[in-house]
């Protein structure tokens, strides 16, 4: 099997480092993206189509990260892109917001079970911040409960006290509780009685570097009950999982209703828009916020969003993604077993998380992932994966073939595992 080279990636990255801090920053870059070892990974891309992207060296990858979520129907979906291009002819960012915003808001309200209204921005962080501000505006309280292992964006309030550029005052009102620990949540609420504006959490624990954890039976119902009883706004951050578990929202998937729920990645299949949805009682608080952005009402992503959501609903996409994911993860586990490896699969299937568990350091896992990437299957070693609609049975078969060879390469380099 061909092993990829990344000479042009390296050249482009070196150019990037001269003019961009750290070359490629953030989750798509080699540091946060855990490109281990970096020599085996593509650094800059050229194009994408369906389930694939091609790097600047012309290497094709079956993409199991889907741009970390935005690609849900397949890159360049013809229906979504046709709607976007049609809107582009009419205009994108102009003084009077396009009626497409209203169409998308109506569609979100019709689609998301807990939504009475929709508020649009650009990135997930925009709407998690809006949610927290709205909760504070509504309750006139300041503290926010986070679940340990959280990620809700990049604003200072979402970060930790030891992060560069964050000062203790930025996170002074953040409280922390472990996932699935109702007793600890009750204690925390009691210790901060009358001071808590909101509880914010992803629908299940999809933190990095650890097996993802689903809600315990009754967990969300108990959280809902506690929040209602104590006047705490319940925020579900569905930026990552939204539309991959259910088109109705991940709160509906787990049988409860959030007060506020945030979406971003999968709304418009890569066209940039995020959305905060919520209950009627907190709509006025959102109206009161001084909160907007230059591009938040641009029309192309709204048109793309309408087309994308309609298509996802028509396809019953979450069910399709689940079936595809189970084929992938079942095949990967089998390939692992046949080569003497213990591959742990966790989280919801459409956002599966992988870990080779033969050592306790992730080093074997990182080696295996790198061997897969070098053969054209883009996995990651620290983060959950994402599926898209265009992933075909042929793609899955090739993925499993690559995974098998990658396991064999790692096994050959580590005879001690089988000693």
């Amino acid at each position: 099997m061909e092993v990829y080279k990344h000479n042009k990636s390296r050249e482009w990255f070196d150019r990037a480092c001269k003019v961009i801090p750290s070359g490629v920053y953030g989750h798509l870059g080699p540091a946060e993206g855990n490109f281990i070892p970096v020599s085996k990974w593509p650094l800059l891309g050229e194009r994408a189509q369906g389930s694939y992207f091609w790097d600047v060296d012309g290497n094709r990858f079956i993409d199991y990260m889907c741009a970390y979520g935005p690609n849900i129907l397949g890159y360049n979906d013809p229906d979504v892109d046709a709607a976007a291009l049609e809107q582009a002819k009419l205009g994108n960012c102009f003084t009077s917001p396009s009626y497409k915003m209203v169409e998308l808001a109506e569609l979100m309200v019709d689609t998301v079970k807990s939504a009475d209204w929709a508020f649009f921005a650009k990135n997930g962080n925009d709407v998690t911040t809006a949610a927290v501000m709205a909760a504070r505006a509504h309750t006139h309280k300041k503290k926010i409960i986070f679940v340990n292992g959280f990620y809700h964006g990049i604003s200072p309030w979402t970060q930790k006290v030891d992060y560069p550029g964050v000062v203790p005052e930025d996170v002074a009102n953040n409280l922390y509780v472990d996932w699935n620990d109702i007793a600890a949540l009750e204690d925390l609420i009691a210790q901060n009685e009358g001071e808590i504006a909101a509880f914010i959490s992803t629908p299940y624990m999809h933190g990095n570097y650890l097996d993802n954890s689903l809600p315990a039976p009754g967990y969300w119902q108990k959280v809902r009950e506690l929040c209602t009883k104590k006047g705490i706004v319940l925020i579900v951050d569905d930026v990552r999982a939204g539309f991959r578990l259910s088109t109705e929202g991940s709160d509906a998937f787990y049988g409860f209703e959030a007060d506020l729920i945030t979406f971003c990645k999968a709304i418009a299949n890569g066209w940039n828009v995020s959305c905060l949805c919520g209950k009627e009682f907190i709509k006025s608080a959102v109206s009161s916020l001084s909160y907007t952005g230059s591009y938040w009402m641009s029309a192309i992503p709204f048109a793309a969003g309408v087309a994308n959501i309609n298509k996802m609903r028509a396809l019953n996409l979450p069910e399709i993604l689940r079936e595809k994911a189970l084929k992938v993860t079942g095949g990967l586990k089998k390939a692992a077993e046949e080569n003497g490896f213990d591959l742990v699969v966790s989280g919801e299937p459409a956002l599966f998380y992988l870990r080779v568990a033969n050592d306790d350091s992730l080093m074997l896992h990182q080696e295996w992932v790198a061997e897969c990437v070098q053969r054209g299957v883009f996995l990651t070693s620290h983060h959950n994966h994402f599926l898209n609609y265009t992933l075909s049975d042929e793609d899955i078969a090739l993925t499993l073939e690559v995974a098998d060879e990658a396991f064999k390469v790692v096994a050959k380099g580590h005879p001690e595992i089988f000693a």
Partner: protein
């Protein structure tokens, strides 16, 4: 903001602790202690670190706690101890006046030599032997300071509470290495390569390490170009890096 207690622990275990390595690396330092009677020098800092330095046969060993000593120097506060280390406060021993010559001569010469390596000029660094010794000592000082900050500095403790148990290897390729042990979110440093690390952060060369220590290159860019290798439990390294950010603050 600098916490004086944390700084005192850094001064004790990272700075004075580096005397151990100085004597291993530098023949001049070793010569100062060769063919001399054993001296045990104890520092007891009120509300801060307590440790004993043993000087014997060209070598130095730092052990935590005040053990049997030849010279004992009690210091009334962490601030005062930090002053002793940076030369603004004169230490007054309560025991061992007969060894005062050691303090004034040999110990003073050792610490001056150490300072030369830890705060070198460009000309000195042009000498490859000096460069290697200086960079090696810096690695040990930084690795030792990491643990003190993770254990005592308020924000460092926050970072440490997110680090799972295990050993992190902090090293220069084909060069010196240190282990950061993590157990129940308490950090400790051992100046040798771990046998079974859960995470590895390795600099490709002494030159790169020096440039990083001097703030001349960016660590994230180095990860991108492969001159810093990290692997294993990267969340351990990630949180250590946040502590590392504070090392620069304390050692500035």
């Amino acid at each position: 903001m600098l916490d004086q207690k944390t700084l005192a622990y850094i001064n004790m275990y990272a700075i004075l602790g580096a005397l151990e390595n100085l004597c291993d690396l530098d023949p001049e330092a070793r010569a100062l202690l060769t063919n001399k009677k054993r001296i045990r020098l104890a520092f007891s800092v009120k509300g801060g670190p307590k440790a004993t330095l043993t000087f014997l046969n060209g070598r130095v060993q730092l052990q935590p706690g005040v053990r049997e000593s030849d010279i004992k120097i009690p210091v009334s506060s962490c601030e005062k101890f930090n002053g002793v280390v940076n030369g603004t406060v004169t230490p007054v021993p309560v025991k061992g006046f007969q060894h005062i010559g050691f303090l004034l001569k040999d110990f003073d010469a050792l610490t001056k030599l150490l300072e030369k390596y830890l705060r070198p000029g460009e000309e000195e660094l042009a000498d490859p032997v000096f460069f290697e010794r200086s960079t090696t000592l810096m690695l040990y000082v930084i690795a030792s300071a990491l643990s003190q900050i993770g254990d005592y500095d308020e924000i460092g403790r926050f970072s440490a509470h997110l680090i799972p148990d295990g050993d992190v290897s902090f090293s220069i390729k084909n060069g010196p290495a240190a282990t950061i042990h993590v157990k129940d979110h308490v950090l400790s440093t051992e100046k040798k390569r771990p046998e079974k690390p859960r995470a590895i952060m390795e600099f490709e060369s002494l030159e790169l390490a020096r440039a990083l220590f001097d703030g001349k290159v960016n660590a994230l860019a180095c990860i991108g170009n492969g001159s810093i290798e990290m692997r294993g439990m990267v969340n351990m390294i990630d949180n250590l890096n946040r502590i590392l950010d504070r090392v620069a603050l304390y050692l500035a």
